[in-house]
Amino acid sequence: MPAIEVIGLRKTYRRAFRQGHEALRGVDLSVPEGSAFGLIGPNGAGKTTFIKSILGIVQPTEGTVRVLGGSPEDPSIRARIGYLPERLHLPGSWVAPTFLATVASLKGQKPDKAANLRLLERVGLADALGRRIGGYSKGMRQRLGLAAALLGNPALLILDEPTDGIDPMGRVEVRRLLQEEVQRGTTLFLNSHLLAETERLCDRVAILGDGKVLREGRLEELARGGARWAVRFAPGADAGALAGAGFTAAEGSEGLYHVEAADAAGLNAALDKARAAGALLVELKRDGQDLEAVLASAMGVAA
């Protein structure tokens, strides 16, 4: 059963005396249970509207949305979802444990002070328990929002820009925490403009542009670099012999060659031939597109 299943989702924001705005134009998407799914796209692509639609915050104009096997309108379904909005507004005069206790009670959970404190420690707020939220930095607020989303071990985590405002070291911590959640079996649905982060965390990605899903699939499939490798040899390698072994020289970079290999055995056979011809291997990497290039090419398709 998919964690999120969306069919033909359309959303038009209607405004009095003005033309409506079509934010989503027939989105079909299925997010497998237990996966780490990234949603990327340019500003105004409809990412936040999509997230709000799958939470029932925005009511679709057309189409069906099923989350964890039920309707997002059903509170018992939402009880199993942890959500961090893009711009979480927190009560400034409260302290973090009070906020967390309140959210836990609104989620219908039994009061558990110790568990809440452990969660705050886990997101790195152990030193700020007595401080008012109003005095928190943006990163600390994000961490608190993340703690609120993690309350009650949700089956689905929907995070809208979770590391916004968090420093690089903090991002590493948050990433580790989210990876732990995914390992635990939680489905992660991530919307982040930090493509490198999406690339590191997610195994599946959808690109949203102009209110439609432009591409969707496993990261490797989208990057299309499965069969092509970039190889760098030490200077002095015999170009003729390398060409005979299947290597093609890259233009403008000395010692850099490309080779096509369907699997590890094919790759190693080609490398063995090159080494036998006296070439010394210094660098080997998959010659795929990164997510930024995938996004750029997908948006080119959209244009």
């Binding site: 915050i57 005069s93 409260w94 959210v103």
Partner: protein
């Protein structure tokens, strides 16, 4: 129901962290403490023989105690009614807009709550605050005068509760306004207009003859017919506080009018909120 109470608790926690609400409670406490320490009343055979305020003798004739205390309780009821509603309008105007603010409402709507829980919880939270404040002041006043004179009456407490009923109608307008336009200033303004309209509505039969006969008078009568008659309720509260016969014809009908008005306005707010995107 737990969702409604949870949101009410959220609102009360928010209120507890606001300085001006704490200042108001401290102010009421200060008035009660000052009154209890500075006022000395001597009662002889059920009559007010002499009274001193801050050590100064208050020059009054010897009168029966209940008669002497009538103007005090009437004034207190009027202050609680109009002052309380005015303070409520100002102090509670941004609870709903704050709860509906971007970044907070999305978070609340994603929690396992029904949409109506959020509005109902806000209403219950604010009314709990109003009832607590009104009871705190009125019970304190009754206790002070009761202990000092031996004259016990629940009139001021009932008057304070009537003020709360009236505030409920005013806050229903403020809450519904917040669902339409998220602005604390607009909520306060419409709350104030409802209060003024409610005062005028209480005098509608007396004011109507001063308006030119015809469409304008009928219009005035029509509009004021829809409004809760808050000044009549205030008068009833003052009469009850002073234990005098009610000047209004039917208190239950007045209360029913306020109830229907509040419920009608809230229904509009709930309906709009259910279908709104955030």
């Amino acid at each position: 129901m737990s969702g409604v109470l949870g949101i009410a608790g959220y609102v009360l926690r928010e209120a507890a962290s606001r300085k001006f609400i704490l200042a108001f409670l401290l102010g009421v406490t200060g008035v009660l403490v000052t009154l209890s320490l500075s006022l000395r009343i001597e009662v002889v055979d059920g009559a007010l023989a002499a009274s001193r305020l801050f050590g100064e003798v208050i020059d009054t004739d010897i009168r029966a105690l209940d008669v002497a205390l009538k103007p005090v309780f009437m004034a207190a009821a009027a202050v609680v009614f109009y002052g309380g509603i005015l303070f409520g309008i100002v102090s509670c105007s941004d609870f709903a807009p704050s709860l509906l603010s971007p970044g907070r409402i999305e978070h609340l709507l994603a929690l396992p709550l029904r949409r109506w829980h959020i509005l109902a919880g806000t209403f219950v939270g604010v009314m709990t605050l109003a009832v607590f404040g009104a009871l705190y002041g009125s019970v304190g006043l009754v206790l002070i005068f009761g202990v000092k004179t031996g004259y016990w009456t629940v009139g001021p407490v009932i008057a304070a509760l009537l003020a709360c009923v009236s505030f409920a109608a005013v806050y229903a307008v403020m809450l519904t306004t917040a669902t339409l336009i998220r602005s604390a200033a607009l909520c306060a303004a419409l709350g104030g207009i409802t209060l003024v309209g409610g005062i005028i509505a209480g005098f509608r039969t007396k004011i109507a003859p001063f308006i030119e006969e015809g469409l304008s008078r009928e219009l005035f009568k029509g509009v004021t017919l829809m409004l809760p008659r808050l000044s009549s309720l205030a008068k009833a509260g003052m009469d009850l506080a002073a234990s005098t016969p009610l000047g209004v014809q039917s208190l239950p009908m007045l209360l029913m009018g306020v109830f229907v008005f509040g419920l009608g306005v809230l229904a509009v707010g709930f309906w709009w909120f259910e279908g709104r995107d955030y």
